[in-house]
Amino acid sequence: MSEPVLLRNVDAADGHLLSTYEADGGYQALRKALGEHTPDEVIDLVKQSNLRGRGGAGFPTGMKWSFVPKGTDRPKYLCCNADEGEPGTFKDRIIMERDPHQLIEGLAVSAYAIGAETAYVYVRGEYVTAIRRLQQAIAEAHAKGYLGRGVLGSDFNFSVHIHCGAGAYICGEETAMLESLEGKRAQPRLKPPFPAVAGLYASPTVINNVETLACVPHIVTRGPAWFRGIGPDKSPGPKLYCVSGQVRKPGLYELPMGILLRELIEDHAGGPLPGRRIKAVIPGGVSAPVIPESGLDVGMDFDSLAAAGSMLGSAGVIVIDDTACMVKVATRIIEFFHHESCGKCTPCREGLNWAVKVLRRIEAGEGAPGDLEQLDRLCKGIFGNTFCALGDGAAMGLRAALKHFRDEFVAHIEARRCPYH
């Protein structure tokens, strides 16, 4: 896969303009979907492609769409999760800033498939440039008949609205996002009912990530077999990897799903900084359990990373080298989750508060015997005992740091200081 697909326009100076997008075959997938396929056929194409959600959970997209009930009188909604907040992740921002029409076409084709006439794109409020570019792109698409009443002369009506977030990580959780769209505090809902049945305004709702939606037009034009031919059959497709941290060439890389993590870092992102050695890598945003250097020969796809005890998540790859203190990294991650906990579930709200206090004192050289066992108990108390995955992500991350780098924690407690300072 030498030619980029998802990133083909991002380096163009005018990549955000409709003219650039159209010149490269843009909106042909929408034309094809409306002209040659029924909505159910589009759902089938996406099912056959084995596309799995790029937001983090990896749920099969076509299956998610097929849960939307047929023959209901209620309006159906499509929501795009563009609240990219998982630390280490910046792929959706780059798509929206530099190739927003790719997302808009993905929205239009997907809305046609599920029978939605309205889409809300929930963009995090910090992404001012992305929001402006999307607004311009929506106006351009309207003017050319790709959006609005009777899209491209068909009887499909479709409008896209932007909803700006206001700085809450929890809005990336799909039911919290729906609460936020309804004008409430973003606190997750108990499932079931699932959003496909009763989501936004209690109507059938599909929530998809930006990158997921950007894949859809390519599946329609190039076919599901093309998509499945890239990477592992059960977890295929082109994939965006966000590489950051202590690495020579941080950046966004489009490569096949399933590429080895070591290959991504060494061959594409330039490897470690001069004179340093890689100690560990977080492969999928800070919710994904850290992998020690010895485990880097793992495929970057949902199933391979799950089998290795971590997860692909949002593919936010954070490289940590031998100059970094793992206690400090773990502390910063748990501080983040504590700050972003919505406060609804006691294990997450109180457990993370407690964990932060213990971690900070260990890092400060004031840790006591029994602190690590206390952290183990806190992870156990949080994991699986909350409405949403925020608490789970925090517990899994901390557990992995304690498992793989326990000697660093012990060294802090025994020496009564941080060995890295």
């Binding site: 907040g85 998982e86 992740t89 910046f90 921002r93 609205h161 700085g167 004008g183 973003a186 990294v329």
Partner: protein
């Protein structure tokens, strides 16, 4: 457009006016700089929604400011990728240069300093958001140049040469 007209335009995008509280708060904050109680009450009145619904959002989401912020809000990311790339040194430098700590505003009202969670721009870590703009790949020299540029933009100094004079606290 007046604030009321902008809020009505936003409300037309949703089947339920409660959904327009977040966009309305962003519009009101743009207009007033921050969101004191009377502004929140005005938003509730324009939308015809319960005041508590407006207050609970203004205090839940971190981009809403119920207290005044300086003309330039320096929002330094200190999440993992930025921390690994040196954000702690940048924070220390900002605190020393500006003579304020996290969450504080300089006496002249020019700068408010905050640390924020991941800005989603880790490819250019360490990164800081000022107003609408992201500034990436920062080091101490670039940070100083940025601060100088902001002081010039604010008319507090007339040229870059003047701006390079030691700031209070140095």
């Amino acid at each position: 457009m007046t604030m009321r007209e902008k809020i009505e335009e936003a409300a037309a995008r949703y089947p339920d006016r409660r959904s327009a509280i977040m966009p309305a708060l962003l519009i009101a904050q743009e207009e007033h700089g921050h969101l004191p109680g009377p502004v929140l009450e005005e938003v509730a009145e324009i939308l015809g929604v319960e005041r508590i619904w407006v207050f609970e959002l203004a205090t839940f989401y971190t981009l809403f400011h119920t207290e005044p912020v300086g003309r330039f809000h320096l929002q330094l990311c200190d999440n993992v990728s930025c921390m690994l790339c040196g954000s702690e040194d940048l924070l220390k430098h900002l605190e020393t240069t500006l003579g304020i700590g996290k969450g504080e505003t300089t006496a002249d009202g020019l700068f408010t300093l905050s640390t924020v969670e991941c800005l989603g721009a880790c490819e250019m870590a360490p990164v800081m958001q000022v107003g609408d703009d992201y500034h990436g790949n920062l080091d101490v020299a670039r940070l100083d140049a940025l601060l100088q540029g902001l002081r010039v933009a604010a008319g507090r100094v007339t040229s870059v040469e003047h701006a390079s004079a030691p700031a209070p606290g140095e």
